[in-house]
Amino acid sequence: MNGLDQIFVGTGHWIAGLFPVYVQPLISAALEIAIMMAVFGGCFALTSVVERKLLGRMQNRYGPNRVGPFGLLQPLADGIKMLTKEDIVPFSADKTVHFLAPLALSVPIWLAFAVLPFGRNMSAIDLDAGILFFFAIGSASELAVFMAGWSSQNKYSLVGAMRAIAQMISYEVPLVLSTVPVLMLAGSLSLNEIVAAQGTYTLGGLARWNVFTPWGLAGLLLFLIAATAESNRSPFDLPEGESEIIAGFLTEYSGFKYALFFLSEYLGLFAITGLAVTLFLGGWHAPFRWLEWVPSWLWFAGKFCALIFLFVWIRATLPRLRLDQLLNFSWRFLVPLSLINILVAVAWYWSGSWKSPVALPVRWVLCAALVALPYHWLAQSLRGTLPPPRKYTYAE
């Protein structure tokens, strides 16, 4: 059903066609921006309440269910609350930097949505170095975290900001390294090309998503772990853990600035989930050839929602990691594993030229072993960081 698939693209062209020619690029860009802000703003509102309800159900309780049907109007109440709160700036805070920090966090993250392909022909900009743009933008947000923490002139904020930055730069390395196999095997940094490379079908209709290969599966898991850490989500939410450090670098923010931080955190999560879908889950492609009639943006949305559910599920299950556990995990486990994953991808690629009916299972076993053995050894080496079992002495 090509019409339904291209409904947004077609509508955009029609609206832009109503304006004179020299202003059309501007109009179509403005339209794309407006739609993206509306969709992802709405997604943020919905996610904040759906996450709370899912967390509730996983913790044997209801989530919010008073405001609106099934509590779905809760973001409205939250928004009104945030907007009407008094905006308190500490007396000794650095006013300019304190004011600019939420902006410096928000703007790069909004920019990151520009390169994601949400459907067939539906990426706002087709950059030749799309992924590099994405990661460059992501790294700019770390400076904003520092600005927030330092400008509050509060030692908890500063410690929280330092921890947040240490965590974010530590997990940026496995994030980027886990995408290297994808880039190598797709042969391009452009996100549209990467999606196109996953569009062919094999084995009688199964799509060649990257996740259906051993290195793709390992890569997706590494990417998701690093993405959870980059968005400061549980179990990596030490920088803003309420029981640890009050609110970390967000301590001195209230009202709309806090809402902006909250928004930016969720938007960062959406952007990185979109990237995970694009790189590993085949973007807007259907999993089976006979499901191609479903519109491409619907597939993207479905995979996106599945990954968000996974993030919420992990948040409900795992306790928070301590800072040294966090950094050990990144540098001593994820980075070596992602480097080895690159080698596994190379092995997969070279063995792709084997022409035998039993080639596929053999390749799978070989590459899976190449990933699983280092995983096991690295996990053993991490176990050395556990404290020794406690010896209990009792009073006689």
Partner: protein, 197 residues
Amino acid sequence: MDGAGIIKGMIETARNFAGSYHDEARLTTVQYPEEKLAPVENARTIPFLVYDGAEALPGLRCTACMICEKECPPQCIYIVKDTVKKPDFVGKMQMQPKVFDIDISVCMSCGICVEVCPFDAIKMDQVFELSTGDRFGGLLLNKTQLAKPNDYFNKLHKTEAAEIDLRRVEEKQKAEAAAAAKAAAPAKPPMAPPPAP
């Protein structure tokens, strides 16, 4: 296997999630104003005065003996004895309180007043929705507000109330038997005058 703990944890939360839609044990929330948990028999919040019969003030068991006022640790009970007496359930004339105030913002729910009352007149209630907008007297309950019927007491504390009712019925029967015996006994012969010295 490494990472098995994480998988087990995630399976458990998944079961919580799926089970919360059909299994009672996996969704134990009681949505408070609409649904309420049944209180336990021994739950206690503030005291109340028990009365027998249909009318509160004539049937009040309290005889204004002042023991609960003396024993109350935060001294939240204020009693003023009445000059008019009234009969109790056996028929004997007893004192009654003219004023019986309990300041429930001070009451600490210890139940000592209940333990020391010789007449089973004051018992612990289980109401907790006591907030009021009147901050000058709203939490000072007087005799009429504190009086609740014996049926209410039975509903709250079934076993204790049943035992008390049984005892009171027996005492009433004994008193009636004693009164009947006294009325049926022949008139005592007049005492012989003491021998003259």
